[in-house]
């Protein structure tokens, strides 16, 4: 069975079947990373598709096949952030104040309990709301910040590698990570 490096070398030479195998091998990881950064599944699919297109175009320039994973991860992050940037442009062109504020735990509970005020439903909703504290805190972050957290805590990268994937300096990554964790801690403590 060919290794990832074998597939990269073959794809670099134009082998589309090898590239398809790479997509099957690394697509799920790319999709997870994109979904961590973006808010909708369709956006994540767009970002992953664009990332593979870009990787295919630029693959002949990747000299060291062993660097594929880091190289492709950086492309995925960049594509995901580009998607958010395009969304932001659309928002600026048609500026209507968003009314879709992050749904708070109490709001979820209130809405669902109102729909079905049984005790069992209320307990379930309370459990879901508690579990989702971190998720809601994540959702309130900027995409670049979610990308940093995803690289560090989802992809389990060391900070230097996460910084490289984002194209930022190590010091910037460290300070961002520090203040993000402090902020999320405060928010979750306040809510929890």
């Amino acid at each position: 069975m060919p290794t990832r490096e074998d597939l990269v070398v073959a794809a670099r030479q134009g082998d589309e079947a090898a590239f398809a195998s790479l997509v099957e091998m690394d697509g799920p990881g790319a999709m997870r990373l994109a979904k961590a950064i973006l808010t909708s599944r369709s956006d994540a699919e767009d970002a992953v598709q664009e990332a593979f297109f870009r990787a295919w175009r630029q693959l002949p320039r990747l000299r060291d096949a062993e660097r594929w994973s880091a190289w492709f991860r950086r492309i995925v992050v960049r594509c995901a952030i580009d998607v958010t940037r395009r969304r932001q442009r659309v928002k600026e062109i048609a500026p209507t104040r968003s009314t879709s504020s992050p749904i708070g735990g109490q709001g979820v509970q209130a809405a669902l309990v109102q729909a079905d005020p049984s005790a069992a439903t209320a307990d379930l909703v309370a459990s879901v709301a508690d579990r989702d504290l971190a998720a809601r805190a994540l959702a309130s972050l900027a995409p670049e910040d979610r990308a940093l957290l995803a690289l560090r805590f989802l992809a389990d990268l060391e900070v230097p590698d996460a910084a490289a994937a984002l194209g930022i300096r190590l010091g910037t990554a460290k300070s961002r990570l520090h203040r993000l964790l402090a902020r999320l801690h405060d928010e979750m403590e306040a809510d929890g």
Binding site: A20, R32, E92, T96, P102, G104, A137, S175, E187
Partner: protein, 406 residues
């Protein structure tokens, strides 16, 4: 459970198993874009020769500058140019195309220029020289379009503008472009004719693809030609490549006339220091939009710390001139305009976000404060507080004083 563990769990829930949609791989392979054309076979073996020739030429020119007597001649144009205090990079040290050195017959005919004199003292409003070495520098899409219509041949001409270079390790996005050729290789740099105008998307058919010395972000005067003989390499896009301006050489990369004025990042930092003692500003390599000016000529700096709950500076974008800033953000300068209500383009608000959760979610607005050549992105409450108002007014006042030399 630690905050890190809770984040890991939340991220895993958020992302699921990463299952690809049905048919994703097949569709993706079916729609794979064309790759960039590889260099012509005749060019590849010649690259070493080109490097050697380039090295010899550079050494010879440096010798000509430093010790003209060794070469047995009077100081030539390059030497004269290098002695001019206003020129930051001599033409020899800046980018040139490979083609004339490899295959002179295939490249455009070079028109002998007048005696080298460097940039003229007459400038456009963003500091770009109106002439270089006695030849006119075209500035603005209208001027270039007129030139292309009037003289649709291969004779080179000079163009002035602003380039924004993305670090090579940051892949660029150009999903709107069909196929990939040397004209749209997705690598930039992005070019805008006028300071303060957007370089995204790529609206001007100009390419630095064949320049061996990549440009830096900032102002440039470049020698270009159209109807490049390599246009057929672009396949179906050959007509577009033929119409594109191909940069032959970077002649000039700015001088004191293109330095930011009246406000520099140093002055802005001085104004910010007493207002926000903990604030540091980093170069923003990612150049994410937000309230930042997105023009090719803007240099963006990002606040390197978490926004406070109260009013705070998020980023600073510095244009080379007030005129450029007005092009980039046509908002009235000063605190009153920044504190007005409403979204862009007429209002100062360019974004909102909510932080916190449950009933404690706090919404903030991102406002643009324009003063002279600078746009500062400021976070405030949605409903302005007295603290917001005071912060923006003091910031505007400090910047206005600095801009006025006070």
């Amino acid at each position: 459970m630690t905050i890190e563990d809770r984040l890991r769990e939340a991220l895993r829930r958020r992302t699921g198993d990463g299952h690809l949609p049905d048919g994703f791989v097949a569709r993706l392979i079916r729609d794979l874009p064309a790759r960039e054309p590889r260099r012509s076979a005749w060019l590849r073996p010649a690259r070493g020769v080109v490097s050697a020739v380039t090295l010899v030429v550079v050494v010879a020119l440096l010798l000509a500058v430093a010790r003209p007597d060794l070469l047995g001649g009077n100081p030539g144009p390059s030497a004269i140019r290098s002695q001019e205090p206003t020129v930051r990079g001599s033409a020899a040290a800046l980018g040139t195309t490979q083609i004339p050195a490899v295959n002179p017959g295939a490249g455009p005919t070079m028109t002998p220029g007048p005696t080298a004199t460097g940039p003229s003292s007459a400038r456009y409003d963003d500091g770009i020289p109106r002439e270089f070495d006695g030849q006119p520098v075209l500035h603005g899409l209208a001027a270039v379009s007129s030139r292309l219509k009037a003289v649709p041949d291969m004779a080179p001409f000079l163009v002035g503008g602003w380039v924004r270079v993305t670090p090579p390790d940051v892949p660029m996005s150009c999903p709107a472009l069909a196929g990939t050729t040397w004209l749209n290789s997705c690598r930039g740099p992005w070019f805008a004719f006028l300071a303060g105008t957007s370089a995204f998307p790529l609206a001007v058919p100009i390419t630095f693809h064949f320049v061996t010395g990549p440009p830096s972000t900032g102002p440039v005067v470049v020698k270009v030609h159209v109807h490049d003989p390599r246009a057929p390499e672009c396949g179906a896009q050959a007509p577009a490549c033929a119409q594109a301006m191909v940069v032959e050489r970077i002649l000039w990369t700015g001088d004191s006339a293109t330095d930011p004025r009246p406000l520099t990042i140093g002055l802005v930092r001085q104004v910010l220091a007493p207002l926000d003692p903990g604030l540091t500003l980093d170069d923003d390599r990612m150049a994410i939009g937000g309230c930042d000016a997105e023009s090719a000529s803007a240099v963006s700096y990002e606040a390197n710390r978490a926004p406070a709950s109260g009013p705070a500076v998020l980023s600073v974008a510095i244009e080379p001139s007030t005129v450029a800033r007005e092009r980039s953000l046509g908002q009235a300068p000063g605190a009153a305009a920044a504190l007005a209500s409403g979204w862009r383009p007429r209002g100062p608000i360019c974004g909102e976000s909510g932080t916190g959760a449950g009933g404690k979610t706090t919404w903030v607005a991102y406002r643009a404060l324009a003063v002279a050549n600078v746009v500062v992105s400021v976070q405030t409450s949605i409903t302005l507080t007295a603290a917001d108002q005071s912060f923006v007014e003091r910031l505007a006042s400090g910047l206005e004083r600095a801009a006025g030399g006070g």
